[in-house]
Symmetry: C2
Subunit: 174 residues, 2 copies
């Protein structure tokens, strides 16, 4: 998810790490701050893999900026990851949202629709958070108001997500 965000934002243009970190933080909804201890090693890995280059510019009133630029293989790597996402990027809503943030970079509408379709297929499978004898328990079956709440809220989210997915797939295929 971190690597995908880096590739995604740098696809739109060169940035330095400080700026990049601010965008990644926003993207996650400030749910968990991006730590430098994760970001810089990730950039090192991407540089080593040939996905980006760094060149130094004088920073104004701070340490010199190291501007990060995606290479052609870096750009290709993003497109590859968008077109063929890992399972967790389909199943986990947070990860899927990161994917959504950059899916527009994929030019092919059919490929875009395919990604949404995968998410829709996953969401169409009935699921609960609690099971008895392998069968999902429904909200009404709980005395606990918090467990009832979980299921009620998840159902509402699932409904609007699925509606949007169906509509957007239809538009892409039109």
């Amino acid at each position: 998810m971190l690597t995908l965000s880096i590739l995604g934002f740098l696809y739109e243009g060169p940035l330095h790490a400080y700026d990049l970190r601010a965008r990644i933080s926003g993207l996650s909804g400030h749910v968990r701050p991006v730590s430098d201890g994760a970001l810089y090693p990730a950039l090192d890995r991407l540089e080593k893999a040939g996905h980006l280059t760094r060149h130094t510019e004088p920073g104004h009133g701070a340490a010199p900026r190291r501007v990060l630029t995606l290479t052609d293989t870096g750009r290709a790597e993003l497109l590859r990851r968008l077109a063929d996402p890992a399972d967790v990027e389909i199943t986990d809503r947070n990860s899927f949202f990161v994917l959504l943030a950059f899916l527009g970079h994929l030019q092919d509408r059919t490929a875009q629709a395919q990604v949404l379709r995968r998410r829709l297929d996953f969401m169409d499978k009935p699921a609960s958070f609690f099971y008895a004898d392998g069968k999902p328990l429904r909200a009404e079956q709980f005395d606990d108001p918090f467990r009832r709440g979980m299921l009620t809220l998840a159902r509402a989210t699932s409904k609007s997500d699925r509606t949007w997915l169906r509509e957007t797939i239809a538009e892409l295929e039109a």
Copy 2:
């Protein structure tokens, strides 16, 4: 989140690891399978910390079961974690849902309401996924249908979540 889930489910009664794993998988919505390589070391840590004990029972048609039982300090640890959750358990919806799953174990309604209140306060802060000059961008400001979708969906989820939180807090305080 894994440790919390273990404490939460064992609070309801002794289980063996295989059973526990099934419940944890369900709780996460099967978004990411619980790996044994995460579960067993986590159980080791909890045992070492004195939060649980293991005793062996003959398994029927499989390896012998090792039944996991929370100790008193384990039970106390769960209640402490529920009453005073880490930041990420408030900000991240997935983590918060795990908290919700076990919040009923907390007997004090005021403490329960306080946890929900923290979540509501976080959610009441205006947020986007994208910012320009430090100000959140709104759905209408995007040409990209996927970014528009992200914001539309997040807004819908936020609205129903916040409504539920307000109602539930009111009920708890009544």
